[in-house]
Symmetry: C2
Subunit: 367 residues, 2 copies
């Protein structure tokens, strides 16, 4: 496989048949590459860079499957990959990316996770193959000092990964630099008493500001960060990885891409693209929580994050979005132990936050 093979499912409009599907496949092939109608690009470019299309097939009433293969030469970064796969196509309707087959060379260039499943466990000092715990520091509105106090309690209770809530950025209530120093200090103090917690500040901004925040996080002693790829760009994940930091990716805004008729399948967006960009773990809503998502799709995301894919390290599924403390054993059975369990409200609703953290720790260690 030398090209990126993308399979789209097309919702046929009334009266459209396979011939119409072929026309639309051809349209996508040009629109997503040269963005000129057929015949207006130099012949060499039409031959080498316009996506090749396979004969479409009907896959159900009013649905056709299109396969397009894209030259990896079109892609220089994860954001540009997203652009090639769905940039202008997003402004059509009834086109959904449902499968990707990757050329190894492209995967090699994108790079994938810098730490991966094993690296993330090592960072947390977890030798045995158990699931990790993660809690969000929240709510927005607390001061850096107050958030740091929560970080200390949670780290002391045995939580492995402490991340900023993704609603926390650089607001006046808890400025980035100050908050990150305080929270990392708090976690360092807990770790000095025998813990190995990792604090992940939510890193936002673009250009120099993003670079400065990544640098400030490193200076404060952070070993990992939280990035929201659909807000900051997929390339921001790679930038954090290239700065030597482990990365958890947050799914904010990505629901817009997950339409049942138009968009990108969750297992590809979260499972393949976020991982290829460099996420060591990808947060997504678990079935049975606050967001409508099928368990089968959640498990498919986990499978894509962890499956062999070129030389990319496997990444951790981080299930969140309303995980209940009581159901943790069930999720461990379903997902296995290469998993991060993210609990927010389920923990904060307990009167004794540290005690609740310890119970979560026990549930994971005992599994």
């Amino acid at each position: 496989m030398r090209e990126l093979l993308a399979t789209y499912e097309l919702v046929l409009r009334r009266g459209e048949d396979l011939r119409a599907a072929r026309e639309r496949a051809r349209w996508i092939a040009y629109e997503q590459t040269v963005e000129l109608p057929p015949g207006l690009s130099p012949p060499r470019i039409e031959r080498e860079l316009v996506a090749r299309i396979e004969e479409p097939v009907l896959v159900g009433p009013g649905r056709a499957r299109l396969k397009l293969s894209f030259s990896p030469r079109l892609v220089d970064s994860p954001s540009q990959l997203l652009n090639v796969l769905f940039g202008n196509v997003s402004m059509q309707s009834g086109i959904r990316l449902v499968d990707l087959e990757w050329p190894r060379a492209l995967l090699g260039r994108l790079g994938g996770p810098g730490f991966g499943v094993d690296g993330l466990r090592l960072l947390c000092g977890v030798a045995q193959p158990r699931a990790l715990s993660c809690v969000a520091l929240k709510p927005v509105g607390l001061s850096g000092r107050q958030l740091a106090r929560r970080a200390f309690v949670l780290a002391t209770g045995g939580i492995d990964l402490l991340k900023d809530d993704h609603g926390i950025a650089d607001q006046s209530m808890a400025r980035f630099d100050d908050r990150v120093r305080r929270c990392q200090d708090a976690v360092d103090r807990a770790n000095a008493r025998g813990r190995n917690a990792v604090y992940l500040p939510h890193v936002t901004g673009a250009g120099e500001r993003l670079a400065a925040r990544l640098a400030a996080a490193k200076t404060a002693g952070c070993r990992a960060v939280l990035v929201s790829p659909l807000l900051a760009g997929l390339d921001a994940v790679s930038a954090a990885r290239d700065a030597g930091l482990a990365v958890l990716a947050h799914p904010a805004l990505s629901g817009a891409l997950l339409g049942p008729r138009h968009g990108i399948a969750a297992r590809l967006l979260w499972g393949d693209l976020f991982r290829a960009a460099g996420a060591d773990g990808v947060i997504y809503p678990n079935a049975g929580g606050r967001f409508p998502i099928a368990l089968s799709e959640c498990l498919a995301v986990a499978e894509h994050l962890r499956r062999p894919l070129g030389r990319l390290r496997p990444a951790m599924p981080v299930i969140g979005g309303g995980v209940d403390l009581g159901r943790v054993p069930e999720w461990l059975r379903r997902y296995g132990c290469d998993l991060v369990v993210l609990i927010g409200g389920g923990l904060y609703r307990e009167p004794d936050l540290g005690g609740a953290a310890a119970r979560l720790r026990e549930a994971l260690e005992g599994a």
Copy 2:
């Protein structure tokens, strides 16, 4: 108005009534701010930072309108604003942002366009109030030298704004630094013969890489850049503006947000949010072209880009996506002269590219 008033339209599920709409409004109010269930945040934070909800109203069969007012203190940047308005909500279904009323102080902090309609015209040396022309340099696969040749022909023909195609980033066929120098040189040569064309490289990447590309563009003499806010993050628009560059925003990927039942209305995404982030012009598909969009929505985007909004400069609507040379007079009548007409295929299909450019120029000057 001291808070950001956001109006959402909710698709009611079977059996849902106003009481259910109220419950969902309350859910959004907590989810998009403290991200904790009611009662789990300190009372001061619940009072000050959880969005306030107004009584929902039915607006049609199965539709309710929700009004939520958000504290501007939640927002420190355009990307974070998008997060507050639609980050986690994106992972629900049937929720569409349809109106925004802005507090002036928040607009002041976001800053908006650095150049705006008048500044963009000044950059192009256009004294009279006429529409500007824009052409994309394409296709991807041409070398920097070949793209520069096209830039020279088009600039000499009288095109005002020459932008990279958004499929062009830093691929091996035309590396960013080399391409930008060559294209800017070509445009400088055309300008030395009496033109005033502006070249806009497509700036991609995150963190240091984005910063380095913005700096390289400035060093090469560029006065403006192209940014794709949904790929690079809305904050990348602000970063380019803060570097002193004018910015055209490209709509790639944003179609995912424009669902008729779930997402953000185009006039708000392109008209308000891109502008508030700092876009001096926003490219979007025009009605009657390659993308399905109603003329009324296109005109509403233009209205939002140019309407009085705090102290923000008005921004240029840049209509593209398959504009035909022959219909330019019609669009000038519809949109007025504070407009950029972006033509790609319609120009490249002409055997004499420079001649076609000159005809476009005449059409705009004669209007």
